[in-house]
Point group: C2
Chain length 340, copies 2
């Protein structure tokens, strides 16, 4: 079997406590002893049993991350960021798929399997405001996303309204006045779509531009194909527009594609902006201007928050943290020099 503290202790001719002290960098160990123990550890290739350590310490060193599915780019990149942030502080991440299904999300919250983790970073898609109370759990839980606000836990999300407003203002700053929106959800108030549409309207209002319902294209899902279909709708509607705000990058990419097929040139005829700053947006043709919603900050803060709640901050009031956003200017909104 695997080598234990006892084996090392015997080999080094000390007690297991001393070995433990060396391993945990406990200061009061004589140098000679320390090196002797170190040698024994190396010789035997001793590796601590993390399970035993967990049982003793009550910590597992693992964080659960529950999200809809990794085949959605946004969540894949979110997971990547969370794993990286966790790794930086020596934690590992267990990923759980909910499929965006409300029942599975609720189930997740009380799952046995959660017991092997120190906390849960939870990104629901199916749950709504009416489920907020269910987030009251006895372990560190951090909520992500735009489905539930004002819940009983720390909530880390992006400045959807402000960022969408800034994105729209960016287009307005380019001289655009007829700005189409791709991916809106009918009658949604919270939720990414609702909040971002609010930001859009705020920017319009501030600039004195009238809101035109005909410029809004609705989709239920946010895949590339939905962006494409929405753009087809817009083109058929025969309404003029000189810019497009894709409510996320995937939509914008799909819309951009159809725009180009229709013979319009981006960014000369139409400027396009997205939201999410996915990796692939950097590589599209033209590259896509987008809103970086601060994913790494969200990930880092989420992990940090779990750790804080673990050691003593259990009773601090729930916090609402909004990550800083940033417009990433790329080719799709380049200023075009027109010869006059």
């Amino acid at each position: 079997m695997s080598v234990t503290l006892h084996d090392v202790a015997r080999a080094a001719g000390v007690s297991i406590k001393t070995v433990s002290n060396v391993i945990n960098d406990y200061p009061h160990v004589r140098d000679a002893t320390r090196t002797r123990v170190r040698e024994a550890i190396d010789a035997l290739d001793y590796q601590p049993n993390l399970t035993a350590r967990s049982l003793r310490s009550g910590r597992t060193g693992a964080i659960a991350l529950a999200l809809p599915e990794l085949s959605l780019s946004y969540f894949a990149e979110l997971a990547d960021s969370v794993i990286e942030a966790a790794e930086n502080i020596g934690q590992v991440v267990i990923i759980e798929r909910t499929g965006g299904d409300r029942d599975r999300e609720l189930q997740m919250l009380t799952s046995w399997r959660r017991k092997m983790t120190d906390g849960l970073i939870f990104s629901p898609l199916g749950m709504g405001m009416e489920d907020a109370a269910r987030l009251s759990v006895s372990y560190p839980l951090v909520l992500l996303g735009e489905r539930i606000f004002g819940g009983p836990t720390d909530h880390i999300t992006m400045k959807n309204v402000d960022a969408a407003r800034a994105a729209t203002e960016h287009l307005i700053g380019l001289g655009r006045r007829r700005i189409a929106v791709v991916g809106a959800h009918k009658d949604e108030v919270v939720g990414s779509a609702g909040l971002r549409l609010t930001g859009y309207r705020q920017a319009l209002d501030a600039a004195g531009i009238a809101f035109d319902e005909r410029l809004i294209a609705y989709t239920t899902l946010w895949h590339r194909s939905n962006g494409a279909t929405a753009m087809h709708d817009l083109l058929e509607r025969d309404v003029e527009f000189d810019a497009v705000f894709g409510l996320n990058d995937t939509l914008a990419l799909g819309a951009m594609r159809v725009l180009q097929e229709s013979g319009r040139h981006i960014p000369v005829d139409v400027s396009v902006i997205g939201f999410d700053n996915l990796d692939e947006s950097m590589y599209s043709l033209p590259s896509l201007t987008t809103v970086d919603p601060g994913r790494t900050q969200i990930a880092r803060t989420a992990v940090q928050s779990i750790m804080e709640r673990m050691d003593g901050h259990e009773n601090v009031a729930p916090r609402e943290i909004l990550a800083d956003f940033r417009i990433v200017e790329r080719e799709s909104t380049a200023r075009v020099i027109t010869s006059s």
Copy 2:
């Protein structure tokens, strides 16, 4: 603190052994006792401590999955499949990022953190054949991918050569004779690029079509933009072609894009096929014909293999398992009815 076996035992008026028996569905428990214990469990909302169970049983219920990064769609979807497969048999998955870096991959193999898992599903990108011996480890390890063959562990991968050959034959079957390849790697023999190019050449040979070096476009990375750039190269090369084989979907998607911009119609002027069957290939315009490399089967088999190696099959000789592939026909290779 949390409720333990003792608490339940006390509440039910039995010993902890009996409670344990009930929890583990041990058959020889009197019905009356069983229900009494069940009630106590419900009343106290008892949940077993998985860490303690792990310490005792020597199993953690978690599998590690080491891969380059989740922002690459292929790996995101692979991870999704592995998580799903693991979930089906009650295991969770810890994802580790290597960035495709050889040193980090080697490090992964001996990491302390691996100790919290029952085994490792390992998808290297930086390591090569010369590192095969490093895969000799004392825990269940399953190798994925095309970097190392004939190593000391179970290896699950796809039929790269056969599938690439079938993809090429699919194009030939459409009447195509000048088939360009996007994403080749210079002088590579193993590795996805090398193997798939071999399959391509086999199909050509079998059909009596001469290999033309000018139809091969090389790229180092396999992003969309690389597919686009490669296609630009091909077009500038001024060489005729009537079909494109993207060595993966991402490349094919990028290439398709540039083809369309150049005024060529897919599939009328040029047929395009990819490799990987990513989710997004279903939603492109036109939708992309591709090779489904059997990702779910790979994931399922990998998880299964870890479990088998855990209980007794330690000494079975390493197996090389190739998943079944399948051509997924979509619009990009639709047969075009030409009026003659």
